[in-house]
């Protein structure tokens, strides 16, 4: 297995009085797509937000390429090459699509070749390049949100439920974009509820329950074992 680009070692995160993460251990190998699966409310989003520094880990280490970033400020984590796509998209509605993208390219001007590649995977962004992002449809906003992370080559992408609430046609556009990103050798930690999308994209899998990773392995192994899927994700309460 390749060297890990990201590893979490015994990470505990509290949000107010709730102990959301209770000792998360996981690794994201470089150049692979690692799926983070599990029921709602088990701590998947909190895991990504803890990596980004939005929630601070009370305990544990978060290693990005061997450097502990558990206490690093969020902007520095981003500038270390972590592209984050939050669940709520977080686009800047009053700014144009172009301005959203320019802001996301933090290391310098947008590379035209990279921009053209993004236009090829998300054609509506080219059409609405000068329009206010707030006027885009839900699917187009999600495209913009992912495109902002993809506008520069990142060391690691953290993507939170990119297909949530989208129409099937848009889901396939998202899946294609992520496949192309994967083909470029990107390292991705992806939270996804849609198992067919997860199956098609994932190399490795980490399954969470009750604030911990309860199973990790290869996607092929999980995809081929219906009983395991049922135990880990369908009936995880009994399985815990």
């Amino acid at each position: 297995m390749p060297e890990p680009i990201l590893s979490l070692e015994g990470v505990f995160t509290d949000i107010a009085q709730y102990h959301v993460l209770q000792g998360v251990d996981l690794t994201v190998p470089a150049g692979e797509v690692t799926m983070l699966l599990g029921r709602n409310g088990v701590g998947k989003t909190t895991t990504l937000k803890t990596v980004m520094g939005h929630w601070r880990a009370r305990e544990g280490r978060i290693l990005l390429d061997g450097t502990d970033i558990a206490r690093t400020p969020t902007p520095d984590i981003a500038r270390m090459g972590v592209g984050y796509v939050p669940e709520d998209m977080g686009i800047f509605a009053n700014l144009s699509v172009e301005e959203n993208m320019v802001l996301a390219a933090v290391t310098g001007p947008i590379d035209p070749a990279r921009r053209d590649w993004i236009f090829s995977v998300f054609p509506p962004l080219k059409t609405f390049w000068s329009s206010a992002a707030g006027n885009l449809s839900g699917g187009q906003k999600q495209m913009l949100s992912i495109a902002r992370a993809m506008i520069e080559e990142r060391r690691l992408y953290l993507i939170d439920e990119p297909t949530k609430g989208l129409a099937p046609a848009i889901i396939s556009t998202m899946a294609r974009a992520l496949r192309e990103l994967k083909a470029q050798g990107a390292s991705i930690l992806l939270v996804e509820q849609n198992f067919s999308v997860a199956k098609a994209l994932g190399d490795g899998v980490q399954v969470m329950d009750d604030g911990r990773v309860i199973w990790s392995g290869r996607m092929a192994e999980l995809a081929g074992d219906a009983a395991l899927q049922e135990r880990l994700m369908g009936l995880s309460l009994e399985g815990a």
Binding site: H54, A78, Y84, P86, R148
Partner: protein, 351 residues
């Protein structure tokens, strides 16, 4: 060329463009179009308030920070000019030193307030600015040996900016004297400061501010240090407010707590930015023009109205000049009701 001057931020509404052009022409030729001490005085105040309100819009509209200390920064510029003129003697050097010292002090104060309060929730920033502004206003009133206390300071400005200085006879019936030069100093400096603010909000820095206003965590996760950007915006806004204060002091040749530090000015700024439209810059122009004209002429207009309806029941009472604040209040409520995004926002939606 014009679009470049406006930093690519055109009014985006033909009607708005027309109104702004009319205001620009009216202000540029105010001494000739509306001769008379009072009307030129109103025009100069409009110029200064446009800058003051626009600098507040940089904070409130573009960065999403509520501050109650804007009058304090305005006052620092004004007192800077007054104190420099008193101690250095009349002269342009005193104006320059006073203005720069006032702006620098305002920026330092803004930096300190921001450093202590912007890390926490925005409401604390608002409360701290309120406290600091009140404390400074009291301090200025108390330190009468330095600031003149409640009486304030009158001072001499360079002779070239006073009515005593003549540089010709008359042009279109207007005396060519230092007061005219003073007006054009105020007008051109205000125009330059407004264009500078327009440049700032349309720069990459301004875009980051807008991103922070919309979603600060998202801006951080892209790689922008929110506190640093907010602090910088606060300092720029304070320094520009101080410049406006310096212009105001040069124009009225007097500073005092009521004239430059009063909380009424802060309320006026808030009203102007809300009526004009937050986060638009041009809203500052519309808001300042409307409110200052209303403040200066509504009373008179209502007096005329009351006279015209003499003999009719109730109406003269309602239109009595003493009730002008009531009508100003009603105008404000109606404008917020009908133009929740401000007049500029409404005009842009209606395109």
């Amino acid at each position: 060329m014009l679009v470049k001057l406006l930093s690519g931020d055109s009014p985006r509404s033909p009607l708005l463009a027309l109104i702004l052009l009319a205001i620009l022409i009216a202000l540029a030729f105010a001494p000739f179009l509306f001769p008379g001490i009072r009307s030129v005085d109103t025009a100069a105040r409009i110029c200064i308030f446009i800058v003051l309100v626009a600098s507040y819009d940089l904070l409130l509209g573009y960065t999403g920070i509520v501050s109650f200390a804007h009058t304090m920064f305005f006052g620092m510029g004004a007192y800077g000019v007054a104190l420099a003129s008193v101690h250095m003697g009349r002269g342009f050097d005193a104006l320059a030193v006073g203005t720069l010292a006032g702006a620098a002090l305002a920026a330092v104060f803004a930096f300190l307030i921001a450093l202590f309060s912007l890390r926490v929730r925005a409401i604390f920033f608002a409360m701290i600015t309120l406290a600091v502004a009140s404390a400074v206003a009291v301090l200025v009133s108390q330190l009468s040996q330095i600031t003149g206390g409640e009486d304030g300071l009158t001072f001499l400005i360079p002779r070239e900016l006073t009515p005593a200085f003549r540089f010709g006879d008359e042009l279109f019936g207007v005396r060519l004297n230092g007061k005219l030069l003073n007006y054009y100093l105020v007008f051109l400096a205000s125009l330059a400061l407004f264009l500078l603010l327009l440049r700032i909000v349309n720069s990459p820095f301004g875009r980051v501010l807008q991103a922070i206003r919309e979603n600060d965590f998202r801006a951080e996760s892209i790689g922008y240090r929110v506190v640093a950007y907010r602090t910088t915006a606060t300092c720029i806004s304070a320094a520009v407010a101080a410049f406006a204060g310096a212009l105001y002091a040069v124009w009225i040749r007097y500073v005092g707590p009521d004239a430059v530090l009063s909380f009424d000015i802060m309320l006026d700024i808030l009203l102007m930015v809300v009526i004009g439209g937050m986060g638009t810059m041009y809203g500052a122009v519309i808001g300042a023009v409307l409110l200052l004209i209303a403040q200066n002429y509504l009373q008179e207009l209502m007096g005329l109205g009351a006279g015209a309806f003499e003999g009719v029941p109730i109406l003269p009472e309602l239109l009595s000049a003493d009730r002008w604040l009531l009508w100003l209040g009603i105008l404000f409520v109606l404008s917020v009701y009908f133009f929740p995004t401000g007049i500029v926002g409404r005009l842009r939606q209606g395109r």
